[in-house]
Symmetry: C2
Subunit: 221 residues, 2 copies
């Protein structure tokens, strides 16, 4: 239903609780059932929902069985480690906590800043080293720093880290494309936004899509 | 300089402290000096930097003199009110505090949630009402909820709120386009991302671009 208000702009009348569902209905309509994989569809659609950018239909790459694997990890209490406070703010921590997980971001930690300066590397690199010392199952959600992805690759190669999975969606212009290609060569479950696009919002959206899929499974039981 | 690492992917060698400058140099190069307005350029470029989406070159709309006006407001201690915790997390609060400003987001406040439920409106709407009770100069940075923009319009029309300016960049599919058009009809300084695109990241990026312009002015004095 459309309503013209006193300012001569037509608004659609949608109840607050129905805005998200209506948004997804519009996205689905415009996609015209082009996504055939029902495990990936809610993830791709939520990335589009959070950016209004249909490029995510093309650029999101999934390793074989990654959605099932990440669901299982979350159910088993996996934590999420991010490279920005924005992604941390955006991830639904209440949903994650239902399964025992929590969200970590070490980027603003004083020891991380000091060590990065000392080593001449990025805080994101040191943040990944710090995460590697946690003795918990971890999913990495990287929305900003390609150097985080490179460091994760090295830590995996050196056998000191074995992530449950990597959501590799940093955005940008310097080594972003390359770092994503590197992760897709690694032996790790991944969801990667190929190319330059991505961001903290996309990282959070993908985490939330995974969480909401689990919630829907719960509710349908 | 490019370096091929042991994994046969070429990475560009850039020092951590130079990554941002290098990113902006790439953006500038690709834009080929198409932005002639030097006040707007850093804002448009930072929106592109944060999304890798060159659509922001076309869709960002500025009211006459808005950049100067928002700079003046920040220098005079204006606060920033946002509609998401993500935008709040992304805004450089240290820079803003230099001039006496702080960032507010009322979206998670218990009284806001309760009142929204009672009234059958969005939490964003009630958040704007709550902001209107603050006795401080305010810039609104809206990255998510079109209902926040509609409420701001009504509060201005009713004469109970007079914002220093509105950064109107909600993202989405339901009434987002319309709410932005409404704000551009109002008698208020605005920066709006016309169309569906935007987001908390873009809202934060625009606030930070404004803050970094001021910092550069300070440093060149």
């Amino acid at each position: 239903m459309k309503e013209t208000n006193r300012h001569e702009i037509q608004f659609e009348i949608v109840k607050p609780t129905e805005i998200e569902a209506r948004s997804f209905a519009i996205i689905k309509e415009e996609l015209k059932d082009v996504i055939t994989d029902q495990k990936k569809a809610p993830i791709i659609m939520r990335a589009i929902h959070t950016t209004a950018d249909f490029d995510y239909l093309e650029n999101l790459c999934f390793s074989e069985g990654v959605v099932e694997r990440l669901h299982k990890s979350i159910l088993n209490g996996a934590c999420i480690v991010t490279d920005t406070q924005m992604a941390k703010a955006g991830i639904n921590k209440t949903e994650l906590a239902k399964y025992g997980g929590e969200v970590f971001c070490f980027m603003s930690d004083e020891d991380v800043a000091l060590l990065a300066k000392e080593k001449g590397c990025t805080r994101a690199t040191v943040s990944m080293d710090k995460a590697a010392t946690l003795n918990r199952p971890m999913i990495f959600a990287i929305g900003n720093a390609p150097t985080a992805l490179v460091r994760l690759y090295e830590l995996m190669e050196d056998g000191v880290l074995s992530p449950e999975g990597i959501i590799g969606v940093p955005v940008g212009f310097v080594n972003v494309v390359e770092a994503k290609e590197l992760i897709m060569k690694a032996d790790v479950p991944y969801i990667v936004a190929r190319g330059r696009k991505g961001g903290s919002n996309v990282a959070a959206a993908i985490c939330n899509a995974l969480l909401y899929q689990l919630r829907e499974q719960d509710e349908s039981c």
